[in-house]
């Protein structure tokens, strides 16, 4: 067990440092890239918070859908092949739900402010 502060807390403080202290001293492209860097840290933070549980759930759904075991990468590749060939479609029980769940989780980590994601959450509710 690591000491405090946690990884998430460290990332938060580095993000605050970039936004509140470093960025105001920067100009033009470098200032823009600093903002992009701070946004990247936000992605990492959300991935640390959401990723482990969501990854386990995605893995479990993949095993159930495909009826076999394997790494999450291997199972995703197999799912791709079955969708590409037409063997699995949106009518295949569980596929539509799996794709939606996985996609919404990815957005919750990558870009929770994205308009398409916000709208999808409203439509789901």
């Amino acid at each position: 067990m690591q000491d405090q502060p946690s990884a998430i807390e460290l990332i938060e403080v580095v993000g605050e440092f970039i936004r509140n202290h470093a960025m105001p001293q920067l100009k033009g492209h470098t200032a823009f890239h600093a903002l992009v860097a701070a946004n990247a840290l936000d992605i990492v933070k959300r991935e640390l918070e959401i990723g482990p549980k969501a990854g386990d759930e995605e893995h479990r759904r993949l095993k159930a859908l495909l009826g076999k075991d394997g790494s999450i990468d291997a199972l995703n590749r197999e799912l791709c092949a079955k969708i590409e060939s037409g063997e699995m479609t949106l009518d295949t029980p569980g596929l539509r739900e799996h794709l939606w769940e996985t996609t919404l989780t990815k957005l919750a980590i990558d870009q929770p402010k994205y308009s398409g994601y916000r709208r999808a959450l409203e439509e789901k509710a």
Partner: protein, 339 residues
């Protein structure tokens, strides 16, 4: 890089004196942006009656590596297309001179510098464009109708791509990038099953008609820019590309570039003689356009992993998931109603 000490300043001044009536030299030369396949320089021709605002579009270092990108047309072709578009009433910056070998500047051309705004953030939010915004969708439709009517027999040699061709091209890129995206496979499957018939009539297509390539003034659309990926294809592709969600910049309920409604875009298109808009093909191209942007984001991730250590490139890699949610809303809507 400023005007002084710039290796192209002297040869450019010479070209301008020779080809711009009354010009005695150039001033205010500056590089505007550094695209991978294109340099854009802004400068003024100095004349006794005042400064003439101009743009030089030039291949990087003077020569376009045609092997690098299979889709970009040579700059001479781009200049020719701008002239043909002007002939049918598409607003474009008039081409002043196409570089020849003796000009010593490499491949490129000089065109007028049209004042206005291309940044979506400003066009969609600033007070200055409050009157332009409600007119833009219809104007875009009218302009696309004219653009699609350019006489094909006058066209320079161009890539011809049907919907099916483009699906296979992007599928190949997707597979080469070698990272699983089940939603992309779902979209490719749908596109293969819903491709427009081979009998679809093909026309000149701009190929990148969207915010960023449209010069907008307070009164509306002033010029269509950046013809480098023009080709012969399904005209519905241009009507759909400007409607994909990434180009709406958050204004999700304004499908046309974040500023307008499809109804206005299509009404303008049909009124200007563009022919009947086909909803099935519109949807096909919206799915394909969305997927294209997703594959491009994967390409950014791949470029980063191969050594381009830009923080911007790295994070764009994480934006392919945005296109996945857009594709899911198009293909597997949660409301049971297709978007």
């Amino acid at each position: 890089m400023s005007g002084e000490n710039n290796p192209i300043a002297a040869p450019l001044a010479e070209v301008v004196q020779k080809h711009i009536p009354g010009a005695t030299g150039i001033d205010a030369l500056k590089r505007l942006s550094g695209g991978a396949s294109q340099e854009i320089w802004s400068f003024d021709a100095v004349t006794p009656s005042g400064a003439v605002p101009l743009i030089l579009r030039r291949a990087p270092g003077g020569f376009r590596d045609t092997g690098r990108s299979g889709t970009a047309v040579p700059l001479e072709t781009e200049a020719r297309l701008i002239n043909l578009a002007a002939e049918v009433g598409v607003p474009v910056p008039p081409v002043r001179h196409v570089m020849t070998e003796e000009d010593g500047i490499g491949q490129g051309f000089i065109m007028d510098r049209i004042p206005g705004e291309t940044l979506a953030r400003k066009i969609l939010r600033d007070e200055e464009f409050v009157e332009a915004r409600p007119k833009l969708a219809r104007q875009c439709g009218e302009v696309l109708a004219r653009l699609h009517k350019v006489d094909k027999s006058k066209l320079p040699p161009l890539r011809v791509a049907t919907g099916r061709d483009e699906v296979e091209q992007y599928f190949k890129t997707y597979k080469e990038l070698d990272y699983p995206h089940p939603v992309f496979d779902l979209a490719f499957r749908w596109l293969r099953d819903n491709a427009p018939p081979d009998s679809t009539e093909l026309t000149l297509v701009h190929g990148d008609f969207r915010n960023g390539n449209l010069m907008i003034g307070p009164e509306g659309l002033r010029a269509v820019l950046d013809w480098e990926i023009a080709h012969v294809g399904d005209p519905m592709a241009d009507l759909s590309w400007i409607c994909i969600n990434p180009w709406r910049f958050g204004n999700i309920d304004m499908p046309v570039g974040g500023f307008g409604l499809r109804e206005d875009l299509f009404a303008g298109y049909e009124a200007a003689g563009g022919g009947k808009v086909d909803p099935a093909r519109i949807k096909f191209w919206e799915v394909l356009g969305t997927l294209k942007w997703g594959v491009m984001c994967m390409g950014m991730a791949s470029a980063f992993l191969k050594g381009d250590r830009s923080v911007e490139r790295a994070t764009i890699g994480r934006r392919s998931s945005e296109t996945e949610v857009d594709l899911m809303r198009l293909l597997a809507p949660l409301t049971g109603k297709e978007q």
